[in-house]
Amino acid sequence: MDLSTGQTIRKDLRLNWIIYLMALPVIAYYLIFHYGPMYGLLIAFKDYSPAEGIWGSHWVGFKHFDSFFNGIYFWRLIRNTVLINVYDLIFGFPAGIILALLLNEIRKMMFKRFVQTISYLPHFISIVVVAGMMFDFLSRDGLINQLIGMFGIAPIDFLKESGWFRFIFVSSGIWQGIGWGSIIYLASIANIDPTLYEAAKIDGASRWRQIFHITIPGIMPTIVIMLILNMGNMLSVGSEKVLLLYNPLTYETADVISTYVYRKGILEASYSFTAAVGLFNSVISLILIVSANAISKRVSENKLW
């Protein structure tokens, strides 16, 4: 049965109207819970008072940014945030790649699957439980101290000494994430053309040479994309874990921008000041991800957008 043009248009409108209706909650969600807080960032330039609201509060320009940049904690926060993330980038980021390369060299499928299954597991354990386990193993009379005590090493209060914080933070992150991190590289290794390996073998290339000349170049695009994504998260990653693991004794090396925002903002209610700190954090993150993408586009033609 054919419909007249008018009827078709009306039917189209009616169908689209339902689509608009369906889009409504989603649009409302993004406007309220994502763009709402962006609007709320205005308070970084005001002296926010809940009674006067976001728009009604007084403008103070860059006062809060000034006091943050000139505050005694500024450099400590920057140093800790950057160092923890740089260490994570140097040691944590390649860990998954290395594991994927090693797993790929295992020829016994059963064993390979066994290792993979076990190595993914910690990823699903909550960060609270992981931190709780660390507290117990690393305490003054915990397992680690008992073990190193057997070699005559004096007990170390790992989580109360600021010198150990970054090492503990990064290495526990590797413990929890290495298996999960390897998945994507294993998948990308699986996509490499097998004839490349055949040809290399005929040319007499050893396994090492195959890894360096075929496998690693083959997964380079994936590595670059993952690196860009990591750069974007650089300033925010891990704050929930720092919050669980640190204490006033280790603030010196552990306090990062996001934990400082939580302490000053939520616990001490200095909203405008910490909104300014948070905005600074977001802007740096944005700059990092955009420039990582731009650099990558120029040097390797891999890009996120």
Partner: protein, 292 residues
């Protein structure tokens, strides 16, 4: 394959040893926790070094854990947050994904841009906190369920899956008089079940493990999810309330095993389900990767 050289054999041996070491380092902490939780508190405290089996066998720690009202209410609350939260997540993400997977929708690009932008820039903690406060969601379960209703990353994955549904199917359904809701629930979603399953898992595990939003938005302890209760027991070290009625000397000892039992009780559901769910989790990562 030709004969392996000595170097390659050595590489294989070392590689296998490395992988076994990795498995040991990953698994042993869990085994230690399990053994300690089942041990007799007094002999556990005396013990030094690694545990290869429980010292004695004693379920007192577990009894104390299950008697703790905070643990039981935390468990109940978490189950509620997981169920309600995941349902909201799925509904909202599916709606968004469905709308964005429609062809010829002229505001689609603007919408997409607005959504993707939130992945690289956000208002941050404090403005969100003020917003939640203003909306009257502070100290209500809504604060844990609504603000994270859609994970943009998951939305994009789901949209990609929805776009893969053959358009001819939808067109023939339309000719038969099906509306958008019918197409979405009867055709697109059933045909995208693998992705839906992955999304359910990711969202559910996310709710099960999350503690931060509860820490920020909840004041009332009766609403605490399990992870926040765990934080008090494991990090702030407050097992006293659970060992009441025990002599002071034994309190410390049983407190130690209680911590381990708490870890087991709170982690067991995930560990038990893990072997069955693992492949879906992995599939999710791979689907997510394809979009690049």
């Amino acid at each position: 394959m030709g004969a392996q050289t000595t170097g390659e054999k050595a590489f294989s041996v070392i590689n296998t040893l490395l992988m076994l070491l990795l498995c040991f380092i990953t698994l042993y902490p869990f085994l230690y926790v399990l053994f300690a939780s089942l041990s007799d508190a007094a002999s556990f405290i005396q013990h030094r070094g690694m545990l290869l089996k429980p010292l004695g066998f004693n379920l007192d720690a577990y009894k104390a854990v299950f008697k703790n009202p905070m643990i039981t209410s935390g468990y109940r609350n978490t189950l509620f947050y997981v169920a309600a939260g995941t349902a909201i997540n799925l509904l909202m993400t599916a709606l968004g994904a469905y709308v964005l997977s429609r062809r010829n929708l002229y505001f689609k690009n603007i919408l997409m841009f607005g959504i993707v932008l939130t992945m690289v820039f956000s208002g941050g903690l404090i403005p969100s906190y003020i917003l939640i406060n203003k909306l009257g969601m502070m100290n209500t379960p809504w604060a844990l369920l609504i603000p994270g209703a859609i994970s943009t990353f998951n939305l994009i994955i789901m949209r990609t899956a929805f776009q893969a549904v053959p358009i001819s199917l939808e067109e023939s359904a339309k000719i038969d008089g099906a509306g958008e809701f019918t197409i979405m629930f009867r055709i697109v979603i059933p045909l995208s079940m693998p992705v839906i399953a992955v999304m359910i898992l990711w969202y559910a595990v996310g709710h099960w493990n999350s503690y931060f939003s509860a820490l920020v938005y909840l004041r009332d302890r009766t609403m605490y999810p399990l992870q926040l209760v765990l934080r008090e027991i494991l990090i702030a070290n407050s097992t006293d309330s659970m060992s009441t009625g025990v002599a002071a000397d034994d309190k410390y000892a049983i407190g130690e095993t209680i911590k381990y039992a708490t870890i087991i009780v709170s982690t067991l559901p995930i560990i038990c389900l893990y072997p069955f769910l693992q492949k879906y989790f992995v599939k999710g990562v791979l689907i997510g990767a394809i979009k690049e």
